[in-house]
Symmetry: C2
Subunit: 195 residues, 2 copies
Amino acid sequence: MDELDRVMHYLAKLPGLGPRSARRAVLHLLRKRETLMHPLADALGAAAEAVRDCSVCGNLDASDPCHICKDESRDGSVICVVEDVGDVWALERAGAFKGRYHVLGGLLSALDGVGPDDLNLDGLISRSGAPEVKEVILAMDATVDGQTTAHYISDRLAGLDISITRLARGVPVGGELDFLDDGTLTQALKARRAL
Amino acid sequence: MDELDRVMHYLAKLPGLGPRSARRAVLHLLRKRETLMHPLADALGAAAEAVRDCSVCGNLDASDPCHICKDESRDGSVICVVEDVGDVWALERAGAFKGRYHVLGGLLSALDGVGPDDLNLDGLISRSGAPEVKEVILAMDATVDGQTTAHYISDRLAGLDISITRLARGVPVGGELDFLDDGTLTQALKARRAL
């Protein structure tokens, strides 16, 4: 496999790109070697080296703890639990939440064989027991798996003296967090209710 | 701009990807660091370094002359003139042509201000005068610019003792070469006619 075929082979594996769009992308890259192809190669290599899981919350960041966990100006009394890093990005883009996050890395799913041990749950339990924590927001997708996971976590945290909330039903049923507009996310955060 | 933002910034510039699909692609890449992210970074860097324009035909390849120009088993008596490297790839995928190529790097266009000096034409004129060349196939898109370019090249080559052909009208009018299926490309090559 020569150099061009290798680039096309790997590009075609990205979500949203197939063989034809990978070929178009390669031609586009070769026309913009200095302004796009080299910088993209360097950025990919640097990110693959530098980015790691935050040992506190499970977010992806170049530093550990991540920049959100390190940010002293954020409210340490609220932890927002999400399925995936993409959900952290979506909530940060909305700019409506100034607390901390906890990334589960998935949802409980009998169908896919995902159990409690497969999720980043132990860290959440111990973080939630810290004296400064007053509230845990369960911000999972409004799907069956998301709500199953929320109920499971709610049961695990039941003994603690904290309020456990979920996003308001501004989230459309069956919808996924990462696809919502900022306004809906903001509304859902503001109207959260005790579980 | 941190590592992740840089990757997203550059990925979002690829044709077919926007900000949202770039974010999804980054998450996908970070989940497959060893099997996808590092190899893609390496392949991009290697291709950006190694791939150059073939000094004979204008094709993009890791060697100069390109592997098609170097291939002794190909028929040196026929030169197929195309707009772009993507068209060479399309014809090679169809597998119906065993001669040489010449890549113009564009089409004449009064609207876009592309004149004869902007295209890789001098090389074509001198190649077409070589004693072994018997035929030049003008395989441009069946668009106004493509046919204008074909007529211009046909005029420039008029004094030479070669046949000048164009692809058969299997190419749908207004269609672009790179979008055709292999069968149509094969039919169009087989039914080529003297200009």
